[in-house]
Chain length 386, copies 2
DNA sequence: CTGTTAGCGCGTTCAT
DNA sequence: ATGAACGCGCTAACAG
């Protein structure tokens, strides 16, 4: 039975030749030519069909709405019907199409994660924590790495926007100063939570470790071990993290009555070569430091290697404290004293904040800030007493 | 102007009361009650609207088809129109909705990656290689970690099915024997490429490193250093990888005329504690081995730690070779001799195979197998000569 | 309790 | 060169 696609007429329809291999019709009532709806051309790779609720409905001779309701465990549905649907779904190996679901509900049940890298185990642990909260709540996680490049980070934000993620947690690259690409999320009403590496000037929830406190305690530990000329291998000062650690270092010295020597504070970037160069510079000073607080473990490890190559005894002549507790730090000799961060907690907390915002009914949310404490792990690189 | 949603009539329409807060109409021609189409109830979190092609069309007073074509760089479109669309798209910060795109085209331009874990840098490097090929080809990568648990792995496959990924590359868990969950991909016509850790009995493309060859060369190296009682810390034998390495070990001994002692072959699992126990067991044997080939670096590193704690000199009394070249292996003392795998190449090759299958027109594809060579990196843990 | 329908955003014929 | 209509798979509102 042919129906006019314009007016719905069914009787006054005449065939009218064939166009591009398809039968063409003419509706006498509304004076309109039309052809029957065609299936979209499928690309060749679409070799097989994945089961849809329509397949289940056809198999059971019921409507797809009923199937949909049965699958969702809707209450007002006949028990037999529900069972039949569930069985058939299992039999046909039905998997809901998340693309369609997302489109229909205007949400993807996906949250985006942007990290600078995941070669070091640092961010992976955070991601695992994030997944541990997200998955039970019914959200998937899509991971992007910016590779420490602003350009890639911007591309990542675009991908996440295009994927219509319901929210984003992010840790920015060292070179990120401009925040336009993150403000896009805010303009689109997509909740954003920053963690670990944050940026000023973005009014969002944040999850941080107490870098100031950790640095303070690390330096205090060096002082307690008898160090008096304590140097600092600092990181890029556009990163809050690095700023805070520098401040903790400064305050610890001051509160304990030790002088601050500018020449003992070296700014570096966070890669291996510059860290090595900075360490070398410090250890070749005429009046060499007797303690070093490094902004992170890789820098501290490079320092250990340089010191060893120069025959400087650790910790007797030089005590070293790092930050982050990388796995390597426990294995290197001497073991590296460092501040452990609660990595999975960071991820968990960030996602908890995020889900709270995603599922909140409020239109204006007050950004939260979570601050997690570090733990000092004392190893041989600094243990002079006891 | 109200139009009957059934027959399209516009004149013979009468108002007919209000239902659930909405105006109801009556079409006299087709005797039909109806209400105006309503917007779907939006969840509260949908605070703002993300730009669609319809928004651009409205702003420019043209049809969305034209916008769609302009955006795709279709040829038969007026240059002015195209420019106007492009400008407006930029102005409104348009991002295509990948959910809608995927639904319409029945493909998501996403490929799934399943790995057992990504704490060690091993899989991350592979993933980066995979992204380096996938992204330029217009595909995104969604990463799942099975956490070495079969149950999680099955959940991952379901998520990827539901996300309608266009293809999957996977490395199975140590406990995966049953392959039903991977066969689902094949049944659905979703290309699958296995890498590194594969399973027998699945007729798919594979990317492997030549574990046999690597093990052979590692053990041969130990023999050349003068070892005669060489032990092997083996991994779970349901993993091809571990089987191959064991075989390489056995063949190297045989070809060089060395005896194989069963007591020197210890099966362990791939975690820290069991590796340590196995190492301890070997080094406490009455007739201790003078060389150890470990199935991977973490196991080798545990062996080094145990040996050092026992005062056994490395490499003089005990030479050690690992497998994988983990970052830690270069930093530990003594540096660990190991076999480096071309990690990013694995990821790249796997995705190249996969994209080939995704974009192929063939209905039946012949699975390919890529075998990549390892590289022996000699460090202090085994260097007795020169 | 179940069927019918609109609409989510997009690409795509087909018609003009 | 442009517009109108449809379908991808699903949910939810609505009509029985």
């Amino acid at each position: 039975m042919i129906k006019c696609i314009k007016c719905g007429e069914v009787d006054a329809i005449a065939k009218s030749g064939i166009v591009r291999g398809k039968q063409r019709y003419f509706c006498k009532r509304c004076d309109y030519y039309f052809t029957q709806p065609t299936l979209m051309t499928r690309p060749a790779h679409q070799r097989k069909h994945q089961t849809t609720i329509m397949d289940i409905a056809n198999a059971l001779q019921i409507s797809k709405s009923t199937v949909s309701r049965a699958l969702q465990g809707h209450s007002d549905i006949n028990d037999n019907t529900r069972q039949a649907v569930l069985n058939m779904a299992h039999e046909l190996d039905y998997q809901p199409n998340l693309l369609a679901l997302g489109l229909a509900k205007s949400r993807s049940f996906t949250i985006g994660v942007i990290v600078p890298e995941f070669i070091n185990s640092f961010f992976p642990y955070i991601i695992i924590g994030a997944q541990q909260v997200a998955n039970p709540a019914g959200y998937h996680v899509i991971i992007c790495q910016s590779n420490e490049q602003l350009e890639t980070e911007i591309a990542n934000t675009n991908v996440l926007m295009a994927s219509r993620v319901d929210g984003v947690i992010a840790s920015v690259t060292a070179e990120t100063k401009n925040l336009d690409h993150f403000q896009k999320f805010q303009r689109a009403g997509i909740p954003l939570v920053m963690f670990n590496r944050i940026c000023d000037g973005l009014d969002v929830s944040k999850v941080l470790v107490d870098d100031y406190d950790g640095a303070y305690r690390g330096v205090e530990h060096l002082i307690q071990q008898g160090c008096t000329r304590i140097a600092h291998l600092a990181g890029p000062q556009n990163l809050q993290v690095c700023k805070q650690r520098l401040q903790g270092y400064l305050d610890a010295l001051q509160h304990h009555g030790l002088p601050v020597y500018d020449e003992l504070i070296v700014n570096g970037h966070l890669n291996k070569d510059t860290a090595q160069a900075a360490a070398r510079h410090l250890l070749e000073l005429p009046d060499r430091p007797d303690g070093i607080f490094a902004v992170n473990d890789p820098a501290a490890i490079q320092t250990i290697l340089v010191a060893k190559s120069k025959g400087i005894r650790i910790p007797a002549e030089l005590a070293i404290v790092g930050f982050s507790n990388e796995p390597t730090s426990a294995l290197i000799e001497p073991g590296l004293t460092t501040l452990a961060q609660p990595l999975d907690e960071i991820g968990k907390t960030a996602v908890q904040f995020l889900l709270g915002e995603i599922e909140s009914d409020e239109l204006d949310l007050i950004p939260k800030t979570g601050i997690l404490k570090t733990q000092l792990i004392v190893r041989e690189s600094s243990r002079r007493l006891g």
